[in-house]
Each structure stands twice: as C-alpha cells, then as structure tokens.
Symmetry: C2
Subunit: 158 residues, 2 copies
C-alpha cells in the first residue's frame, strides 16, 4: 500500500498496476480570493452571493462565497496538476458531490484522496473503473467539498 507521490515528490505517470485500494495522495494548494470568485461567478453562476460582497450580506450565505462549481473546478485543477498523475489522464464518469461548507475569499484549498475500489472492466481488458474519495479542505481543515469520482484508469501498455 504505497502512498502516491504528493506534490513535493517527482512527477510519475501512474498506470492501473500502480494503484491499490487504500492508496492515498495529497495535492498542492490553491489560494482563492474575491476577484477569482467573482470572475468565475460572472461567467457561470451569476448570483449576488457569488458576485457582490455587499449584496451577499443579506443572503443565505451571509457574505461572499464561491460557487460550488468553482470549488469543484479548482479541485480538478489540483488533482490534474499535482494530486493524481495518471498516465492517460484523470478521466471521470461522474460521482457523488457534496459541499458541506462554503468556500470563502482568502481560503487556501488542497485535496486529499484515497482509492476505495478498483473494478476491472469486463468488456475492455486493460481498463478499470477506480472509485476514489476526494476531500477538498481549506486552511482550517474544514471540508468544503466531498467528491467520490469513478475514474477510467488504463493498464500499462504491453
């Protein structure tokens, strides 16, 4: 049960043979600010609690918060750039997504993940569906996103 390389380690292209249930990884960090939150929201989630500090005060969130989709997109960036160096790419078919707490301006995010299931494909030899548990945390250790993706992972070419 070797740990996957973290962001301080050398890059290594991982194939199916390199993964085992219980393997863990940790990504690098991303620092989020109000400008990023508002830029993403203007494009994809234009609601007052994501685009305007003043207007956000009298909403459900009580202040500016990132779109959950922004948290999700940043989680993917961290996985791709530093968390999970899969040789054929990080390719997901979906999964269960939860945002237990809002992401706020000033948050510094990182992702921790664990391999929880590996199911070889019956129809496509050399492939498996790998289920991971990926938690996105802020600098206080609060979980701002839980995601349980199913990833398509390829075996090492023979």
């Amino acid at each position: 049960m070797a740990a996957l390389p973290d962001h301080t380690g050398a890059k290594r292209a991982l194939y199916l043979e390199d993964l085992s249930v219980g393997d863990r990884f940790q990504s690098g960090e991303h620092a989020l600010d109000a400008a990023q939150i508002k830029a993403f929201a203007r494009q994809f989630d234009p609601q007052p609690f994501h685009t305007d500090e003043e207007a956000a005060k009298n909403t459900f969130f009580g202040g500016l918060a990132a779109s959950g989709w922004h948290t999700a997109a940043l989680t993917m960036k961290l996985l791709v750039e530093s968390g999970l160096p899969l040789a054929e790419g990080v390719i997901g078919s979906g999964g269960e997504l939860q945002w237990p707490k809002p992401t706020r301006p000033g948050d510094v995010l990182h992702v921790v993940g664990e391999v929880i299931e590996i199911v070889p494909s019956r129809s496509k030899p050399g492939r498996a569906m790998v289920t991971m548990r990926c938690r996105t945390l802020n600098q206080y250790g609060d979980v701002v996103q839980n995601f349980t993706p199913k990833l398509v992972v390829h075996a090492r070419p023979s």
Copy 2:
C-alpha cells in the same frame, strides 16, 4: 402540476409554495466552441484532450472534448439565467453527477429539469430541501450530463 416558466416566459421569482413534485422546466441554450473549451481547461482542467485538438486525437476521447466541470458550470449558468428562477437563489448542497457522453466543440446545450422530491426542514421552518433531476442535452438530444441536486428552497416571506 403547473409547468415552471421556460425561458420564453416572463421572469418570476419562485418560492417553495410555487413548487410541486413533477414540475418541469426547460432552460435557454448555450453554444459551445473550441475556444471556450480550451480557455476553461487551461484554467481548471489542463489535460491534452481538453486543450489541444491534435493531441486529443490519440486519447480516450479521440478528439477535443470539454471538461466535465465545464459542462457542469454551463449547466449552472443555464439554470441561473433561464431555467429556475428561485427567489432566494439556486443554492445546492450537492448531488449525484454523471457524464454519459462528452461535450464537443459545436454543441448547443440546454437543460431540462423536474422536481422529484420536496422535504420540509424540521429544524428551519420556512425552508425545504428540494431534489431535482437535471439533464443537460446537446442539439441531437444526447444527454451529456445527469445531475440530481438537492436545493435549499425558501418559503415566501410572511
């Protein structure tokens, strides 16, 4: 079981009292091109099949495809701008997400949704958790995303 207003109807701020299980809605459209796909991917999902037409040919996707998170973010934009005019905002706590087919350059997306469950909050009177089934379709009627969000919906202020 009144249909929710579609994007051709007048904007109307909906409260909990306005929603019933079985209510359906349809959003406006978003036309996606290669430039948008690559711009999103460079920022949030920098992998060759999302950033480079040539490099994408020899990958799992066999050609340029949008990041699933781009499809998800555009789905949110369509819901917020035209699909689901909730008075206090479209506020999700998460849900099950699937991408059955890739989204491609040239795709024109829209979202169809249905209210499938309404569970009043016990601890917070005047609120309910509303589960919806939201499908994102391309111009051929192919489903490119299934999402089953749980939304926080507020009652009309008394």
